[in-house]
């Protein structure tokens, strides 16, 4: 299989196997190794840089405590059980608000996607509410529900609701007419149409909305806990700053990050189990 020298003065353009074809297993392994090591090395390098900067006093370690200090402090607080009440308080609010927001958003999205009359009636108003920053509604919720868990949960629910509502409505409207027509010709009842066509057809897009909402739910609860709560991670972060316990503040921030990642990953895994036919979510290493 050598490339013969051309007898004329024209060249030969040869398509031949590349490294990926000649050594498929090795190329794949190398690629996986590279991707994995990059995923670990980049954050690790940044943390090491931070550690170095703190120990070398390039930055003020009272304001930006070294990662080792944060880790040790977090470990102590977790071991002493000081950390868990705040984590639990935040988790409870997020889960309750997320559940309410998802269910109502999905129901209304479905209704508005299927019935143009309902869409006509509610869409302009919801569009207007959608652009209002939800945190600006916190005073309203405080007036409505008083102090306590009510306003926090309501705020998360309102935030999640809009994400799920919009993605559900768009997904239902995007169901191809052919899918509906096939059901209609067989005489499907509204419930059967929902169960066999609209629900599965819209689910992949709805789950993308639900996953984005999971991250945003954590984001908004931390903000609202800073303003109006006596516990929770958002409260912990602000309170620690006020007391100039910057290491505690960073422990709170790390907890929030972990909580957000775990939550949205769980929603993604649930989505994958619920929609085995859908193509895998992109933007994250596959398999």
């Amino acid at each position: 299989m050598t490339t013969t020298t051309p007898k004329e003065d024209t060249r030969l353009l040869v398509r031949r196997p590349g490294p990926q074809e000649l050594h498929p297993a090795r190329t794949h392994r190398r690629r996986r190794t590279l991707e994995l090591s990059l995923a670990v090395a980049v954050p690790l390098a940044l943390i090491l840089l931070w550690q170095l900067a703190a120990t070398q006093s390039w930055i003020d370690d009272r304001v930006y405590p070294a990662p080792s200090t944060i880790l040790a402090d977090g470990w102590h607080r977790a071991a002493d059980g000081e950390l868990w009440p705040d984590v639990w308080a935040t988790l409870k609010r997020v889960l309750a608000g997320y559940a309410i927001g998802t269910v109502t958003g999905y129901a209304l999205g479905l209704l508005m996607g299927s019935l143009s009359v309902v869409r006509a009636a509610l869409e302009p108003m919801l569009d207007a509410l959608y652009v209002v920053p939800k945190l600006a509604l916190l005073p309203v919720f405080l007036n409505m529900f008083g102090l306590g868990e009510g306003p926090q949960i309501a705020l998360v629910a309102a935030t999640v609701f809009f994400f799920v509502w919009i993605s559900t409505m768009a997904a239902v409207l995007a169901v191809p007419a052919g899918h509906r027509d096939a059901g209609q010709v067989f005489g499907a009842s509204p419930w059967q149409m929902f169960r066999h066509v609209l629900l599965p057809a819209s689910l992949p897009a709805v789950l993308v909305g639900a996953r984005i909402a999971a991250g945003v739910a954590v984001l908004v609860i931390v903000a609202s806990e800073q303003i109006a709560a006596t516990n929770g991670l958002g409260h912990l972060i602000f309170d620690a700053r006020a007391l100039f316990q910057n290491d505690v503040m960073f422990v709170g921030i790390v907890c929030v990050a972990v909580l957000g990642v775990v939550f949205s990953e769980l929603v993604r895994i649930a989505g994958r189990l619920l929609t085995p036919w859908a193509p895998r979510d992109r933007g994250r290493g596959q398999s």
């Binding site: 490339t3 007898k7 060249r11 030969l12 353009l13 040869v14 398509r15 031949r16 196997p17 590349g18």
Partner: protein, 260 residues
Amino acid sequence: MGHPHPKLQARTLTRSFGRGHRTVAALGPLDLTVAPGEFTCVVGPSGCGKSTLLRIAAGLLRPTSGELAIRTDSDRPAAMIFQDYGIYDWKTVQANVRFGLDIQKVPRREADARATDWLSRMGLADFADAYPSALSGGMRQRVAIARALAVEPEILLMDEPFAALDAQLRTILQDELLDLTQTTRTTTLFITHSLEEAIVLGDRVLVMSARPGRIIAERRPPFARPRTGDIRATPEFTALKGELWDLLRGEVRRDEVVPA
């Protein structure tokens, strides 16, 4: 074939997909020689690797083993026409046809002149400023053909270009393409499901086996060039079509009974 300087030559070409125990052999081993100016049609059952062969020739995919050589001075000697048109909805018809020329940095004035020329040859002159969404399927495919030919490629690769069209439109576009290629004499590799299409257009018809695709037969339609679509009505046409179908039927069946 006997040609001393083939335009395109494949030697023991194979391609497989996947890794480890899930490897699927898609193509070959396959040997193929295409003479300059020859119009070669490849027919075969679905999933037999026809498109894989074309994608290797186009440089979109590398072979797993073997090699495919194209005799050319250019790095990009080929133009490809896809089944689903591959033309861009966000460009006007004129801009679509000019696309290949723009990529090759042909000066705007010359590129526009060449695009306009091809548009009028394809009967699309009145639609130069329209967007593809306003066109019918047949017209969109004419745009795709004009875009490929506007760069005056040394090799034209066509991947079931008429598969998405209705039967009448297919016949019309086959005749148009026959007319065009008999004038330009561009070396062409044409993949199709349709035996009729292969016989009308091809100097040579190659029949491929079920996966992994190999060439199991070769026929030369006995119609002198320049020919027209009228050959469809001749007894020789019907006989050749029947013969090819007999060869192909077994392969299509085999593919259905043993799904991989």
